[in-house]
Amino acid sequence: MSSAPVLQLAGVHKTFGQTAIIRGVDLDLVAGERHALIGPNGAGKSTLFNLISGRLHATAGTIRLRGADITRATPQAINRMGLARSFQVTNLFHRMTVFENLRCGALRSRGGGYAFWRRVDGVAEANARADEVLDAIGLARRREATAGELTYAEQRALEIGVTIACGADVILLDEPTAGMSRSESAAAVALIRKVTAGKTLVMVEHDMDVVFGLADRVSVLVYGEVIATGAPDAIHANARVQEAYLGTGLAQAGAAETAHA
C-alpha cells in the first residue's frame, strides 16, 4: 500500500444552503484495493459518491483521480477518465434490452463515440465487451429482455454490468446488495468479487457481512466526517467506531435480523 493513491480526496466539503453534509473528508485509495464506506443513515455516503463521480460539485477541497483534478469535472468527463459508478436506486435505460444497456455502457470507451455514419453493430469491440459482461453478470439468458421487465435482483446485476462495461479501473458501487435476500446478496458479493478483480473498488454498504467479507479496508463516515479508516478487524475493534456507529447500528441491525428471521 505504498504506491501513489488512485483516488485522493483532500479537505472535501459540501454544504447545501446552511447545512454542511460533508465536513472535511480526506481519503486516499490505493490501486487495487476494495474499500467499503460505512456509516449511519444520513452520514453523507451517497453525497460523497455524488461528489467523486461529478453528479455534485464540492463546495471546498479537491478530488484527484490518478493525480488529475476532477473536483469540477462533469460526470461524462470523469467516466471517460476511467471512473464508473452504480446507483443505489436502479438507474437503467429501462426501455432498451439488457444487451443494449450493456453496449451503451461500453460504447464510449470502445470507439463508438457520437458516430452517425457507422453501424453500431459494426463497433466490434463494444459488442464483444457487452457480451463478455453479459456472461459475467449471468444474464445471458435474458439478453433480449428489456431492462424494465427484469426482476429486482436481475436489475441490480445489470446495474453493476452497465457500470463495469466501460472497463473503468476505479469503480464506485452504491449499496449494490440493498433490498436483496440473503442468497441474492451472497450471489451479488460473488459477482462483485469476480468483476472487480484487479480494479479499485469503493462501495457503500449497510450489510456488515458483505462489508467484512469483501473489503480490504473500511472507512467510517459519521456526520460528514471520516472518523476511522483501516482494516476490517481494526475498525471492528475501534472504540470510537463502536461508540459512534457500530454500537447503535449493529445492535439495531442485529435486532432487525432477529425479527426478520
Binding site: 437503467l92 452517425f116 455514419w117 453500431v120 462495461a165 466501460c166
Partner: protein
C-alpha cells in the same frame, strides 16, 4: 441471411409505389400521393426528436420551411440562368436538406441545452420567432404572397422535364425512400442508440460517458436535415413557398401525424403522415366540419391508443404469429355494425348542428343524402340521429365487452405461447 427477407418484402412494396400513379391517374389522387410522400419524410424526421430522443418540439416546421425557402431560392436562380434543368430539380431536395441542417445547427445549439418541458417551450418560442421574423424580410421570404418559381426550365433529361405531376411523384418517391432508409439506418448507429439512452435516462447516459446535450444537438441537426429535404420537395411540388410553411400550424400538423401514427415504432409516423394528409385533403371535400372530426379522432387516439396506430399493429403481431387472432375476428365482426351505427348517429348530429349554427353558408339548412332531402330545421332528422347515436352506443358497449374479454384470453394464451 440478414437483409434478404427485407428485400423480398421491399420489392412488392416498391412495385406498388411505381404502379400507384397508373392505378390512380386522376390529378387529385396524384397530388394527394405527392403530399403524402412529403409528409412522410417530414413526420419521420419529427419522430427522430419525439420518439427516438424524447424531445417534444412545437417548432419543427422551422426546419421544413427554411429548407423549402433555400430550395426555392436556388430554383429561382437556376430558372433565371436557365442552366441545369432537370438535374437541378433532382438535386434540389438536398439543397433544402442543407438549409434545414444549417438551421438545425444554429437553432439547435440554443434549443437543445435543456430537455423535457423546457425544450418544448424553447422550441415553441424559437418557432414563433422565426415565423414572425420571416415577413420582415420580403426579399428572402417573399412577404405575404411567398416566393414562387417554375420547376420546368432548361433542357429535358431523357425526356424528363418535371412538368407532369407524375414525374414529380416519382422524384418524391425516390427521395422519400432514400430519406426513410437514411433515418432508419441512423437508428442503428452509436448516435441513434445513445439518443434512445438519453431519452430513457439522460442522467445515466452521462455516467456512461456521454453528454446528453451533445446527443440532443446532433439528433436535432440531423432531423433538421431530413425536414429540409421534405421542405425542398414541397418547393418543387407546389412551386410556391409561403411563410405558413414555417409556422405553428405546420408544426402542430407534423406533431399530430407522428403521434397518431405512433412514435414508439419507426414506421408509425409513416402511417400517421398518410392518414392525416388523406383526412385533411379528402375529408375537407365532403364536410365543413372536417376539422372537428379530425380533432375528435385525435382525442380518441390519445385517450384510447396513446401509442398510436403502430401500437395497435404491434399488439396484433404476436397473436397473429401464433394464429390466435381467429378468436378475435368474430368479435370484431360483431362490433362492426354498432360501430357503424354509432358513427352514423354522431356524424348526423354534428352535421345538423353545423347546419343550424350557420357553419355552412348562411341560411342553407338542408342537404341531400342518398337522394333524400334532409332539413335541419325539422325535428325528424334530429330524432333519428340521436336515436342512432344513443342506440348504437349502447349496443357498442355490449359488443365491446365481448371484444375486451376475448382479447384478455388471447393475451393470456399469447404469453403462454411465448414462454414455450
Amino acid at each position: 441471411m440478414k437483409g434478404r427477407p427485407h428485400l423480398v418484402a421491399a420489392l412488392p412494396a416498391l412495385a406498388c409505389l411505381v404502379a400507384l400513379p397508373f392505378v390512380f391517374p386522376q390529378g387529385f389522387a396524384l397530388s394527394l400521393m405527392c403530399q403524402m410522400g412529403i409528409a412522410t419524410i417530414f413526420a419521420l424526421s419529427y419522430n427522430m426528436l419525439l420518439g427516438q430522443t424524447g424531445l417534444l418540439s412545437f417548432g419543427h416546421a422551422v426546419y421544413f420551411g427554411l429548407g423549402a425557402f433555400c430550395a426555392m431560392h436556388v430554383l429561382r436562380w437556376a430558372g433565371g440562368s436557365g442552366g441545369g434543368g432537370a438535374w437541378v430539380v433532382i438535386a434540389l431536395p438536398l439543397v433544402g436538406g442543407l438549409g434545414g441542417l444549417i438551421a438545425g445547427i444554429v437553432l439547435g445549439a440554443i434549443t437543445t441545452r435543456r430537455a423535457g418541458t423546457i425544450f418544448a417551450m424553447i422550441s415553441l418560442g424559437v418557432g414563433e420567432m422565426v415565423a414572425s421574423v420571416a415577413p420582415m424580410f420580403p426579399a428572402l421570404f417573399g412577404g405575404e404572397a411567398g416566393l414562387n418559381a417554375n420547376r420546368v426550365f432548361g433542357a429535358p433529361l431523357f425526356g424528363i422535364t418535371f412538368g407532369p405531376q407524375r414525374q414529380v411523384y416519382y422524384l418524391i418517391v425516390a427521395w422519400a425512400l432514400l430519406a426513410a432508409w437514411g433515418m432508419h439506418a441512423l437508428t442503428r448507429t452509436p448516435l441513434g442508440r445513445m439518443a434512445n439512452a438519453a431519452r430513457d435516462n439522460p442522467e445515466r447516459a452521462q455516467f456512461v460517458g456521454y453528454h446528453p446535450q451533445m446527443v440532443r444537438f446532433l439528433m436535432l441537426a440531423l432531423s433538421g436535415f431530413f425536414a429540409g429535404i421534405a421542405g425542398g420537395l414541397s418547393a418543387i411540388n407546389y412551386e410556391i413557398v409561403t411563410g405558413e410553411s414555417l409556422g405553428a400550424h405546420t408544426s402542430a400538423l407534423v406533431l399530430l401525424m407522428a403521434f397518431i401514427g405512433g412514435i414508439g415504432q419507426f414506421y408509425g409516423p409513416i402511417i400517421g403522415a398518410v392518414l392525416v394528409t388523406f383526412l385533411q385533403t379528402a375529408l375537407s371535400q365532403y364536410t365543413h366540419a372536417w376539422l372537428f372530426y379530425f380533432g375528435l379522432f385525435f382525442l380518441f387516439m390519445v385517450l384510447e391508443a396513446p401509442g398510436g396506430i403502430a401500437s395497435l399493429v404491434q399488439l396484433h403481431r404476436e397473436p397473429w404469429r401464433q394464429g390466435l387472432l381467429r378468436w378475435v375476428w368474430p368479435q370484431y365482426a360483431l362490433a362492426a355494425l354498432p360501430v357503424a351505427l354509432t358513427l352514423a348517429g354522431l356524424i348526423g348530429v354534428v352535421e345538423l348542428v353545423y347546419r343550424v349554427a350557420g357553419g355552412v353558408e348562411a341560411g342553407e339548412t338542408s342537404w341531400k343524402l342518398f337522394g333524400n332531402a334532409i332539413d335541419a330545421t325539422r325535428w325528424q332528422p334530429w330524432a333519428l340521429a340521436l336515436l342512432l347515436f344513443a342506440g348504437g352506443g349502447a349496443w357498442l358497449r355490449r359488443a365491446w365487452s365481448g371484444v375486451a374479454w376475448q382479447w384478455k384470453m388471447v393475451l393470456l394464451a399469447t404469453a403462454r405461447g411465448k414462454d414455450r
